[in-house]
Symmetry: C2
Subunit: 355 residues, 2 copies
């Protein structure tokens, strides 16, 4: 088994280092190979996803990813910007299934913007399609507007699209996940306006018939954005397209108050996956040793479970994280009165010790 | 001056009746003419936006709109469903500028899902473009997938598009509004992925140069969905496209806790506008006399201010609403201990009395 380690930019290297420390102490048998990605790769090789990095990723069973992005790359042309590495990896490896848990940790309930009773015990799984939709649809570009009131003016355009098999496979991921949870899938679309959404809804309904034990409901994306705020515990599994999933998964993550704790997995049709924290590269605190490594450590646990068939080792990591929280250790982002503030390394060490 | 009154479905007729009562007591000079719209129009005339209704709307200075939609029309083909009336009116009248205030009323702070300190005094204006984007872009439809891994499979597609002049005019609306407020515009896009968003961002930056007294910042839509939860008071004016605006305006409205109180205006290049509450048709409580008419009454105030040049009358309505809240009167949706629960009509009567 082989793990590609892509630390990336900002706090990426620091938090990935802690996850590697945790993996090491578990003494499992796999090779680890690191490669540059994002802005760091652009600086070193002139491209955010160099050939060698992509090759390594393809040849690995799993990718442990830190984060990419920094203001200093904002002026680059889009195809050279750090986040293109992420889009490229998703596309080239066919990582169509993005699993983003939005969990409110008991000890962090108070850190949520929401009233505690609304989020205590919250546990949503957002299943976001990751290789289709308006993210990758062709054609796209700029042109002279072909029609309408502003014909002849400069315009830009993008194409949203989904094919039936793309929707079917992500639907199965959602229903299978729901079977192991509270057996409730909410499919989010905008079928009152979009053709793509109407097909999405039709296919979800069809696939749902194969899962008689799972309740399926459909919700418009604007309503979903509201219900997440109003009554987040309504949701169990949320399945949606790439664009809506981008927005709703971040909204859901933020309302847990535990965003520094939330891992994610992006899987393909095999068992290959990319694992990264739900939060970003936080260039403002990079190199200061204060970033929270727990989302990355928990991403490593997801990696063990989904790509490396090491469910037991994954459990050990997750219990260790629970235990450091119970000990009252907190990085700055989740610190509150009565708890002990620690830095990135001390947090990683504490998880290692708890294992 | 002429007002077209389109009550629509669900609670629409009840809440519009209260707004009309309030307008009447102001004793202003204008004609009022009602017409069916939405599901009610489909039932009566086989179409959610009958020719006669559209003609009336076009010939009016302003439209007072209730709400459209009911589960019972879900099975109809999309072009016959109630919400098509709204899309049709927006398109045919060129109502490109949707103004959606997200205000947290002092007396209703406790009704928010968010902790009071995060929302107390919140006052955001969402400026949503309303006649472009993926809502109306052509081509759209179903076809056999022309390329990609699933070539030949059934697929559905839609086109997101914006032309430079469309973006310019909504940008001016946002900057002009910000000048009268806290001089801060946040433009929301997904320029790291979408061509349309990159043009959006470029144009906003250009137009922003004409407003040296207004601060402009750009935010990705996923981040905006998070920041609204984390720190809503960061925002003053938010300007964004039709699709992102649909999602973010509903999220923002819900987190105020005052959604039953929030009006909206949809304006064209002249002074013509459509005015409607931000909430929906709520078929579950229709006809029970419990709906909150205040968002509709406040929409009528916006109508007086923006389309009918009656700013003073608008002020009178808004003060009257403040006064009924101060009296402790509340409909069921905003009721809490220590306040007096009233029905739809009693609330309308109280506003009339306060005027
Ligand atoms: C960086 C960006 C392209 C990316 C996305 O939109 O998918 C990010 O927001 C995410 O959610 O992983
Ligand atoms: C009913 C629907 C088509 C509409 C929209 O998406 O614009 C509604 O959600 C709104 O925001 O006014």
């Amino acid at each position: 088994m082989k793990i590609a380690v892509l630390p990336g930019d900002g706090i990426g290297p620091e938090i990935v280092a802690e996850a590697l420390k945790v993996l090491k102490v578990l003494d499992l048998k796999f090779d680890v190979e690191a490669a540059p990605v994002g802005g760091a790769a652009y600086d070193a090789h002139g491209h955010p996803l160099p050939e060698a990095t992509l090759k390594l990723a393809k040849a690995s069973d799993a990718i442990l990813f830190g984060a990419v992005g920094d203001w200093k790359y904002d002026k680059l042309e889009r195809h050279l910007r750090p986040e293109q590495a992420l889009l490229g990896l998703r596309k080239h490896l066919g990582l169509f299934a993005n699993l983003r848990p939005a969990i409110c940790y008991e000890q962090l309930t108070h850190a949520s913007s929401l009233k505690p009773e609304l989020v205590a015990g919250l546990d949503i799984l957002i299943v976001r399609e990751l290789t289709g939709d308006i993210y990758f649809g062709q054609p796209r570009g700029r042109r002279s507007s072909p029609d309408g009131a502003f014909a002849g003016a400069e315009e830009a355009f993008d194409t949203m699209r989904y094919s039936r098999p793309e929707i079917e496979r992500i639907a199965h991921v959602a229903f299978d996940a729901a079977r192991k949870r509270n057996k409730h899938v909410t499919s989010v679309d905008k079928a009152n306006v979009l053709e793509t959404s109407q097909l999405w809804k039709d296919v979800l309904t069809e696939v749902g018939k194969q899962y008689a034990d799972v309740t399926l409901d459909h919700m418009y994306v604007d309503n979903a954005a509201m219900q997440l705020v109003k009554n987040p515990k309504f949701f169990d599994v949320v399945v949606t397209g790439n664009m809506f999933g981008d927005i709703l998964s971040d909204e859901a993550a933020m309302l847990t108050g535990s965003i520094g704790m939330l891992p994610s997995a992006s899987l393909n049709a095999g068992k290959q996956g990319l694992y990264e924290p739900s939060h970003g590269s936080a260039p403002d605190i990079a190199g200061k040793g204060v970033a929270n490594p727990l989302a990355t450590i928990l991403s490593a646990a997801m990696m063990l479970r989904y790509s490396l068939q090491q469910a037991e080792a994954a459990d050990r990591i997750e219990s260790a994280v629970q235990s450091v929280l119970a000990q009252g250790l907190r990085t700055a982002d989740i610190h509150s009165e009565g708890t002990t503030k620690v830095g990135t390394r001390a947090m990683g060490d504490a998880v290692v010790a708890a294992i």
